[in-house]
């Protein structure tokens, strides 16, 4: 009788997560807690980090079935892996984004390319560390600071690295207010940071409506591998700018975007299981991702400094770092750094131009990379 009872109790305990918990789970639970702390206390991109941090904690509690096949977090991850989520995010981003600053000042678009040197620094670095060229390409694209694009390119080049790359991309995007300012300050003078830029021209409704159609045609013609993402972004933007389907624009920008953000963040967080995540390869990817972000920030600022010299001091070099993409976080960082030098300098609309160009820069880099590596 006592033997039976003891075996029953033992079997009951064995079914709980307690028996399967190991030190790696505790480390990752601590990582999840840090992400929650950054979101809730430091207010670093809470819309991303709350879901990622929470799902990371749950994924490392061995008893939970949410991340196992059939579980809700697992199903959410399938949406990411099957490339359903990234184009829908781009639809929402397009519906939320005013491309006016980029249309008004096309000269600043080049900063969207300049700020992507980090991609290639990380790519070459990853290859030197022994990754295959396809894996190195996927790691490099972290430097594009565009989460959905990083997921999209990774699923095409190195799907087995998706957890590490998506976590690195989204974590660094959320941590941009910490990563970028020291580099921006290091590469600019106080005088440069205080430059007040001229007002941009008015962009008419006709230009705003024609823009997404023209871009969709160009991207589908020149960059078919990444066309699904940019095309969806342009559809969302057309909803917004044509004014006649405001219900669709609002749904894409709010309801769809909110639902997809929940799906995406729990999907990413749920991939952070200790068994899969605590490896040397993860550490290498995290470091390379940071190098890519820092390299991109530096090259963007240097590119803007060069433009500033050519323009006779009319361009604030701080807008260069916004060319890294990550809309609108990077533009906000440029604005905040500029405000510290001059409280009346509202740089955000000027930084939005390179910031939006950065989205195209990442898409173009990713598209060319896929084409050169023979991936469709």
């Amino acid at each position: 009788m006592i033997d039976n009872l003891s075996s029953l109790l033992w079997s009951l305990v064995d079914q709980t997560g307690l028996m399967h918990l190991y030190w790696g789970n505790l480390v990752m639970i601590a990582v999840g807690a840090i992400l929650l702390y950054l979101a809730l206390v430091k207010k670093y991109e809470p819309f991303l980090l709350v879901g990622i941090g929470f799902a990371c904690i749950v994924a490392n509690v061995p008893g939970s079935d949410l991340t196992k096949p059939g579980g809700l977090f697992f199903i959410a991850y399938q949406g990411v892996a099957e490339l359903i989520v990234p184009p829908l995010i781009f639809l929402g981003v397009g519906a939320m984004t005013d491309f006016g600053p980029m249309i008004a000042r096309p000269s600043l678009m080049i900063l969207g390319a300049a700020a992507h040197l980090g991609i290639f620094i990380a790519l070459i670095g990853a290859k030197m560390l022994g990754f295959t060229i396809a894996e190195a390409g996927a790691i490099g694209i972290i430097g594009g600071a565009d989460g959905p694009m990083a997921i999209f390119v990774t699923m095409k080049l190195a799907p087995h690295l998706l957890p590490q790359i998506s976590v690195a991309a989204y974590s660094y995007m959320a941590l941009m207010p910490l990563i970028q300012p020291p580099i921006m300050k290091l590469l600019t003078t106080k005088k440069e940071r205080a430059i007040v830029m001229e007002q941009t021209r008015y962009v008419s409704r006709a230009e705003r409506v024609i823009f997404p159609v023209v871009i969709a045609i160009i991207v589908n013609l020149l960059l078919p591998p990444v066309a699904p993402l940019i095309t969806m972004m342009m559809l969302g933007n057309l909803f917004r700018e044509c004014l006649i389907v405001d219900r669709l624009a609002n749904t894409a920008a709010n309801e769809i975007m909110n639902i997809i953000t929940i799906v995406l963040t729990v999907a990413i967080g749920s991939t952070m299981e200790a068994q899969r995540f605590l490896t040397l390869q993860t550490l290498e990817i995290i470091v390379l991702g940071l190098v890519a972000f820092m390299g991109g920030t530096a090259s963007g600022v240097i590119g803007a400094k060069i433009m500033n010299w050519f323009s006779g001091g009319k361009i604030n070099p701080l807008i260069g770092s916004a060319g890294i993409a990550s809309v609108p976080i990077a533009a906000r960082v440029s604005h905040m750094v500029a405000l510290k030098e001059n409280p009346y300098n509202f740089l955000i609309m000027h930084a939005m131009g390179p910031n939006l160009a950065g989205v195209f820069g990442t898409a173009i880099s990713g598209g060319i990379m896929l084409a050169l590596l023979g991936v469709k």
Binding site: P106, M109, I119, L123, I124, V203, A206, S365, L372
Partner: protein, 53 residues
């Protein structure tokens, strides 16, 4: 020609990608320079659009 899976290959891939990215972005910028001309041929009345459904 495919890109070789070597460090030299990664440098080649980076150089081509970076150059073409600049070229395509510059091309898009060039098209955007032409956008103000749209207003000479085409206008959209925002009030009519807003009341169109």
């Amino acid at each position: 020609m495919t890109i070789p899976d070597t460090v030299q290959g990664s440098i080649l891939l980076s150089a081509i990608d970076f150059f073409l990215s600049f070229l395509i972005i510059w091309g898009i910028g060039l098209i955007l320079y032409l956008f103000p001309y749209i207003n000479k041929f085409f206008t959209l009345d925002e009030n009519k659009l807003k009341s169109g459904h």
